[in-house]
């Protein structure tokens, strides 16, 4: 029977939630890395036992952790007991070394001046679809790094910052590459999203990147609402069967593109608010998408105090509220951009975590919801592994 493993990053540690395919009875392990901010954990599609985790602290900086046994044990890559005893001598301790290539340069600061690029943390790790030792890291200040040795060392793909990086600027949460999407049909194509830089695409494996923001409008954030870069893109998502179709939750507005980002069209339709953070796609229905509307950029909680996921079965424009099992009064949590995921079972499971520490699961595509757990630290990220 299939099993589900939910990887939850929180402000005070990581938690691993497991259940069989019925998704009713959950086991919770954790906190792993207690007391640390766990921005993101994600398993390799090529080897589900390989999980990468981003561990960070305002005091002690960035740590990369790796598990090779499905989250039971962890090591900083390059420092396992076996490697410590290896013929190569003691490890170099560089799994957390994220150094920008060449001159780091400057980007736009809050006051419009230029500010030096400074590494702060890894927001998102995206393992390769085919090689467990290869993964990409989206970092703050915004850049993308790549490892090909299982996380022991990381090198920047500097072409991304050459896509008008001097014009990117931090939003309230900082300036980070928070989304990395790998095209399952074209190994050379990737997408990233940056707050606040916009969306970008590479067609040559990360050497060069182009802004793909035509159609985005940001009249309240940018002096030129149609600017080529600088938009505060909160999240983008794709369905593996149609990787040229992307869905976007922007600071304000929900949008889609049908041509790999060459042009975007707003599909906010009848949403009660088109501000929000996460967006995701049903595992088996490429036109079924999910968002969690938030009241506004000034009030980061659900409209009317009702926590509702909105589902569109038409790829946008027409949305229905899904609140069965979710709190429908006095609820003032937020759902962050990396805190929603789907499983690959039938029917498709939808998962999300809140800043209030709840992790919700719907085992029927969003029709009804149950809380897997209610009292974790604030949830920063949720990823799901469907295990055979």
């Amino acid at each position: 029977m299939s099993a589900i493993r939910v990887l939850v990053g929180t402000k005070k540690g990581a938690f691993i939630l497991t259940a069989d395919g019925r998704r009713q009875d959950w086991q919770i392990s954790g906190p792993h890395f207690a007391g640390w901010e766990m921005y993101h954990l994600k398993g390799s599609a090529a080897d589900p036992n390989r999980i990468y985790a981003s561990q960070s602290s305002g005091w002690f900086g960035q740590i990369i952790q790796r598990s090779d046994d499905g989250g039971r044990t962890w090591n900083t890559p390059g420092s396992s007991p076996e490697e410590l005893q290896g013929p190569g001598g003691f490890p170099r301790g560089e799994s957390n070394k994220f150094t920008y290539a060449g001159e780091a340069g400057t980007h736009k600061w809050y006051d419009g001046t230029q500010h030096p690029w400074e590494f702060k943390r890894v927001w998102h790790i995206e393992p390769s679809l085919t090689d467990p030792d290869t993964a990409y890291a989206g970092v703050e200040d915004a850049a993308i790094f790549k490892t090909t040795d299982g996380g022991r060392s990381w090198q920047e793909l500097p072409g991304l910052r050459q896509a008008k990086g001097a014009l990117w600027q931090p939003g309230a949460g900082g300036m980070a590459v928070h989304t990395i999407l790998l095209d399952p049909k074209n190994a050379k194509r990737m997408y990233v999203a940056i707050s606040a830089g916009g969306a970008f695409r590479t067609d040559d494996g990360g050497q060069t990147w182009k802004p793909i923001n035509r159609g985005l409008k940001s009249p309240y954030e940018l002096p030129d609402p149609d600017a080529e870069v600088g938009h505060c893109v909160h999240r983008i998502a794709l369905h593996p069967a149609r990787p040229e179709v992307l869905f976007m939750q922007k600071h304000w507005d929900v949008l889609r593109t049908d041509n790999a980002g060459e042009h975007w069209t707003e599909v906010s339709g009848n949403l009660p608010s088109d501000f929000g953070f996460p967006i995701d796609v049903h595992a088996h229905e490429p036109e079924t998408i999910y968002v969690v509307p938030i009241k506004s950029d000034s009030e980061h909680y659900p409209p009317e105090g009702k926590l509702r996921v909105y589902r569109s079965k038409t790829g946008g424009q027409e949305w229905e509220a899904l609140g069965n099992g979710l709190p429908q009064k006095d609820c003032y949590v937020n759902v962050l951009r990396d805190a929603m995921a789907v499983d690959a079972l039938e029917p498709c499971g939808i998962y999300f975590g809140t800043t209030g520490g709840q992790v919700y699961c719907s085992a029927n595509g969003g029709d009804s919801w149950n809380a897997i757990t209610r009292d974790l630290p604030g949830v920063l990220s949720v990823e799901v592994q469907t295990l055979k």
């Binding site: 007391g35 305002g58 002690f60 960035q62 740590i63 420092s79 490890p91 301790g93």
Partner: protein, 99 residues
């Protein structure tokens, strides 16, 4: 024998039992040499106290030596005799911040 007290999270990260680590230094006993030795013995701590490239102290890390704050001292300044002979430890501390 040089004694160094690490903060809780770095002890956990380095899987150190007890409150402190002990080091043997061959050359001059400076703060920089002590940090080098800690990082050599526990490579996982590289980048957690000082920047990987510049070796600049991370903003919220403090170094206390015999009741004095050495956070702003030069890395090549000689540590006092009480530290050199092991009577007093070097304290690596997470700064008070965040409430």
């Amino acid at each position: 024998m040089i004694r160094v007290v690490l903060p809780f999270h770095l002890r956990t990260l380095a899987r150190v039992a007890g409150d402190e680590v002990r080091l043997d230094l061959a050359g001059p006993v400076t703060l920089g040499a002590v940090l080098d030795a800690v990082e050599q013995q526990y490579p996982v701590l590289r980048g957690t106290m000082r920047d990987h490239g510049t070796l600049k102290r991370r903003p919220f890390i403090r170094f206390f030596v015999v009741k004095e704050d050495w956070s702003l001292e030069l890395a090549d300044k000689q540590l006092p005799p009480e530290v050199v002979d092991g009577r007093e430890p070097v304290l690596i501390v997470g700064a008070m911040a965040g409430g």
